[in-house]
Structure formats: structure tokens, C-alpha cells
């Protein structure tokens, strides 16, 4: 893929993310794409990817991301975003806490033929759960 095509693919994904448009998001992944996520675990294929996005947006109904950086090296791309969201729908089967979270998230991606084929999400997952009130943390 050209650099311009990669930039456009990430712009389309961020727009679909901020619209919570899970069908469009799913179309941006290859049929056999693999996503490794602290929240959704390792999941493969469009249906599973759509299902995890739907659960995420169902829990964090005002979730929005803004791009901090996009680093492109051939087919390997790292996008750094800031997520802002409130737990209004309940996460991981728990009742909604109504608490907000804001944190940087890194998406380590491989793209091929205009689609995402692999994605690994790295962020302070435990810190996010503490921010939204799913976990409580105290000094040991």
C-alpha cells in the first residue's frame, strides 16, 4: 500500500470509530484478520471484530478517539490515539459506573491490500478499569 492509502485507511477507521459505525469498521479488516486486545482478548475474523467493537461502544457510549501520531514503516503502522469515554453502558458484564476515562492507546497494525490484517492494542488497561470504577486499587 502507498503511504497515502495507509493514511486514508486510518482516517476512515478513526471516523467510523467516532461514529460508532461497527459495520464500516468491520469492512476495514480482512476476513481472517486477528486483533489482540486487553479488553476483547485475541479474536479473529470480521464477525468477532465487529462483536468486540459493538460491546465496547455499548459500554462506552460516548467514546471518542483523537490521533496523536501515525508512524508508517512499510506495511507496519503504529497509531497513537487518546481515548475519552464514559462507562454509561456497563463494561465486562457489570453495571455502568457513569465514570469517565481518558488515556493514550497504541494500535500496532499490519495492513495489506487496503485492509487491516493484524492489530495489537497496548495501553494502561488496568488503569482504565480503575478510572471508570470497575476496579479499585490501593497501596499494597
Amino acid at each position: 500500500m502507498t503511504r497515502e492509502a495507509i493514511v486514508e485507511l486510518f482516517e476512515r477507521r478513526m471516523h467510523a470509530s467516532n461514529e460508532h459505525d461497527v459495520e464500516t469498521l468491520g469492512e476495514l479488516y480482512a476476513n481472517d484478520a486477528v486483533v489482540e486486545s486487553p479488553l476483547g482478548g485475541t479474536h479473529q475474523g470480521r464477525e468477532a471484530i465487529i462483536s468486540v467493537f459493538a460491546a465496547f461502544f455499548g459500554a462506552l457510549t460516548d467514546a471518542r478517539v483523537t490521533q496523536d501520531a501515525l508512524i508508517i514503516d512499510g506495511d507496519n503502522v503504529v497509531q497513537v490515539v487518546t481515548l475519552s469515554a464514559t462507562d454509561t453502558g456497563g463494561l465486562m458484564g457489570m453495571a455502568p459506573t457513569g465514570r469517565p476515562a481518558q488515556l493514550p492507546i497504541v494500535l500496532v497494525c499490519r495492513v495489506e491490500n487496503g485492509l487491516f490484517v493484524h492489530e495489537r492494542r497496548i495501553y494502561d488497561f488496568t488503569g482504565m478499569l480503575v478510572q471508570i470504577g470497575v476496579l479499585k486499587a490501593k497501596p499494597a
Partner: protein, 140 residues
């Protein structure tokens, strides 16, 4: 710097990290470098970088970084890695717990000339503190 020069610089830094040579690692930072670290907070310049790295190597005397991917895009570099170590020297003013941690991480660098002008480290910092026994977490 050319791509090859950047690759050589970061290969050297990987080796230097293995030797836990804080002074040599710190000498790669610009005088006004900005370093965002969950563990050490935001700090500036080579002297502060050396101090933060010294504290880290004291806390985790067996610390290792395993670089899985390194992306180079003009003056930006990203390392996707696994960090692990054992809290044998105490952390954040607390006594050593003897507990081990292992987390995936991403380090994002911006270069100016042959120096690092900005570095941002993103990983599950809260999860790391739980793993090494500095924090306790439980369902809210």
C-alpha cells in the same frame, strides 16, 4: 540521520540497555528532551534521564527489554517490546517485594539530528504496579 544510522543507533541502545548503562543511554537525549514515562513521570534532558534510568535499574536489577518490532518513519521511531523484571530494589519509596512483572509496551521517539528530542512510553503501568505488589486491585 539516514534510516540505517537510526537503525544502528537503536540497535546500540538495545545493547546498552542490556548492560544497564544509564549514562550511555542518557547521552542520546537532547539537552531539552522531553521524556514521558509512567514510572518516572515527565522529565527533561540527559541528567534527569540518567537519574530515572538509574532508579529503574536499581529497582529492577534483572530488567530486560525484548524488542519485537522497530518501526522507523523519517525522524520517528517506535519500538514494540516486552518489559520484564523483578522488584528487588524497591519502587516508589516502598521496600522490595521480590515480585516479577511482565508487560507489553510501546516506546515512541522523535529525533532531532542525532539526538532523541521526545520519548513517550505507553504500557499497562497500573497492571505493572499490581504485578510487582506496589498496588492491590480488586473489583469495585
Amino acid at each position: 540521520m539516514t534510516r540505517d544510522e537510526i537503525a544502528a543507533m537503536f540497535a546500540r541502545r538495545e545493547e546498552t540497555f542490556g548492560e544497564m548503562d544509564a549514562a550511555a543511554l542518557a547521552s542520546d537525549y537532547a539537552d531539552d528532551a522531553l521524556i514521558d514515562s509512567p514510572t518516572a513521570g515527565t522529565h527533561h534532558g540527559p541528567a534527569a534521564a540518567a537519574q530515572a534510568l538509574d532508579a529503574l535499574f536499581h529497582a529492577f536489577a534483572d530488567m530486560t527489554l525484548t524488542i519485537e518490532h522497530r518501526l522507523i518513519d523519517a525522524n520517528q521511531v517506535v519500538e514494540v517490546l516486552t518489559i520484564e523484571g523483578t522488584n528487588v530494589g524497591g519502587l516508589m519509596g516502598l521496600p522490595a517485594s521480590g515480585k516479577h512483572f511482565r508487560v507489553p509496551a510501546v516506546f515512541i521517539y522523535e529525533l532531532r539530528g542525532d539526538k532523541i528530542a521526545r520519548e513517550r512510553r505507553i504500557y499497562d503501568f497500573t497492571g505493572m504496579l499490581v504485578q510487582v505488589g506496589v498496588l492491590k486491585a480488586r473489583p469495585a
